[in-house]
Point group: C2
Chain length 378, copies 2
């Protein structure tokens, strides 16, 4: 078992050495049952099993280990094409995931490689490396020397990269700046705040409970935090950042963003990352209540722009290396909440928007669920 | 009369050589009678005569020749402090004006100098050069060799500078870009569009009548124009700039800005200059309907920021020289509409927001109205 063993799942690796003769593979998939209207419900998704076709040239077969729960999933569940194609009924829910290659028809990837990417909510995925790379959604090799696989979906993956490039490349914080981040108890927010602290900034976060605020200050090292359910950003920031906000990393939109616009320091940078407050209820074009105070950007000589993390794809390796260094030195902390079993995905997504947990939220695909069809075939 | 004569008003100059012995000077002033609620009304202003005190050190006395009508006046009529102090009942309406120095207690200015600045709606003004310079609102010397005095309030003055720096420094157009400007028949808009054409861009403007649209295309050289009263920006831009807007110079806010956000080209720059659509009805904090599509900035990798023309004050001379060159070569056209008589100021301001005229709108302070007190005293 020593040679060829897999630190994720030794049993599996042995079995998969027989690929691709073991096709057809049966994949357990969480698919779109209905386009969500308003708050996403577990019933908007359903779990099915699907036989996968044989691999074509340029494709790899990946067995997923972790599915990533990110706010963007709600956005991707809309049928409208955005920077990714719109959702379709019956197709797997779009999400990031990480796993191991169990068959390959692509010369750059071999069986056993550990990768992450937009693999979607499924136990097995046929991934077209060439086609995906064309639209900048390629496969990322996960170096387990940097951190465990789950972290490659969090602080070492898309949310970490969003925090890193959004803060540093768009927010451009300098030591002494006042940085404010909303949804600060999520992976992106907690990482933004901690990196801003590393850069010598004074950091305030908002979150949805007193316990989360305590955690931000006592465990994540924020200078202050406030519960947005009991105090508006407009009021809290006058108290906590009385000289104005130099960098606002916006994960929520809505009233919080409007409140920040009333509290901008001169030359402020507003980085739009997401709009948690609007994803569910007001996700469609023109459907939200609207940003009322945007004219404050003029007076503050402020700039507002957005972060699309895929734009920095070529620079991810340098960023993950730097983050891994901070993790190892204890300067950066990565919290995780993991639900076990792919069938938990729908309710875990609902829990994400309910703000039930802190840090990175994941679903672990357990081995005996991953390949029932394959087990029967071998 | 040859020596010491004044091309603006020869009579006046002779008379004013006797200053400051002629104090007290009586100034005819258009003062704030009420803070406007909704659309500004002529009755929000009243004309009074006020005796001015003697000049103190650092001050100059200026006789105004032209009062400038600009959308920002509506904003400045609110009692809230912004980048300038809020309006006060009984004080002259804040506006740009141009005129001639008729007495000076400041070493850098002598009687006869022609200047513009925030001189407000009055025939005579005591202007504190030192205090005003401290807040970046200094006096600008008008070089009549560049163009007639009225143009120093238009294309060679604040609106021209707003267009020049807003477009070039914030919008950063490059040849081949699609540029859209709203309120294009105003001074700022018409200048933005013409400069963008000089830079090799394809330029579309919006205005409030078919006649204004005709004028933009046939006389100002725009590639296309549409009447926002009969077609929304969201729809018109899909037709007129189908590859998206690279630079949007926003003079109006509201639905037009929201419509542009649906039509951004990748990497677009949105330059916030004003919000004509909101100045009157929804000027107060949080009072407007709100910007609904701002999240489109993320997908478009677009940036939104504002232009505060005073920030470029040190660079005005270089910009006015360049604009004067374009005027002289016929590459840039400056339209004007002038009402004669300071008492016309309130109704001219109302007409500005009603969109009654094209180009720069001015009130000329006629000499026999300018110094009734002074005339009696000499």
């Amino acid at each position: 078992m020593k040679t060829g063993s897999c630190r994720i799942c030794p049993d599996n690796f042995i079995r998969l050495r027989n690929m691709p003769s073991a096709f057809p593979v049966i994949s357990t998939q969480v698919v779109v049952a209905a386009f969500p209207v308003g708050m996403v419900k577990a019933s908007d998704m359903t779990v099915v099993q699907t036989a996968l076709p044989p691999l074509a040239d340029g494709q790899v077969l990946i067995e997923t280990e972790y599915l990533s729960l990110d706010p963007a999933i709600r956005y991707w569940l809309n049928p409208t094409d955005t920077y990714v194609p719109g959702a379709k009924i019956g197709e797997p829910v779009r999400c990031f995931a990480a796993g191991r290659i169990s068959a390959s028809q692509h010369p750059d990837f071999v069986v056993g490689d550990v990768c992450s990417g937009l693999l979607n909510a499924q136990s097995h995925v046929i991934f077209d490396v060439i086609e995906s790379a064309k639209i900048g959604m390629g496969l990322t090799r996960c170096d387990l020397g940097l951190g465990p696989l789950s972290q490659h979906l969090g602080v070492l993956g898309m949310p970490g990269m969003t925090a890193y490039f959004g803060l540093l490349e768009r927010g451009k914080p300098v030591a002494g700046n006042s940085v404010f981040v909303s949804a600060a108890s999520g992976t992106v927010g907690a990482t933004v705040g901690q990196i801003a602290k590393l850069k010598g900034c004074r950091v305030v976060g908002s979150a949805g409970s007193a316990e989360k605020c305590r955690w931000l200050v006592e465990e994540m090292g924020f200078d202050a935090a406030f519960d947005y359910k009991s105090e508006s950003a407009a009021v809290a920031l006058k108290r906590l950042q009385p000289n104005g906000v130099d960098v606002y990393f916006d994960n929520v939109g809505g009233d919080t963003l409007d409140g920040v616009l009333l509290n901008l320091a001169r030359g402020a940078r507003v980085v739009l990352c997401g709009a948690l407050s609007m994803y569910n209820t007001q996700c469609h074009e023109g459907g939200n209540a609207g940003l009322r105070n945007y004219m404050k950007l003029i007076m503050a000589r402020a700039t507002m722009n957005g972060i699309v993390v895929f734009d920095f794809f070529p620079q991810w390796p340098q960023a993950t290396a730097e983050i891994a260094g901070w993790l190892k030195s204890g300067q950066l902390h990565a919290a995780e909440h993991i639900e076990v079993g792919i069938e938990k995905f729908p309710q875990a997504l609902v829990a994400l928007f309910a703000g039930a947990h802190k840090g990175k939220q994941l679903v672990q695909v357990v081995p005996n669920q991953r390949a029932p069809g394959l087990a029967a075939a071998t």
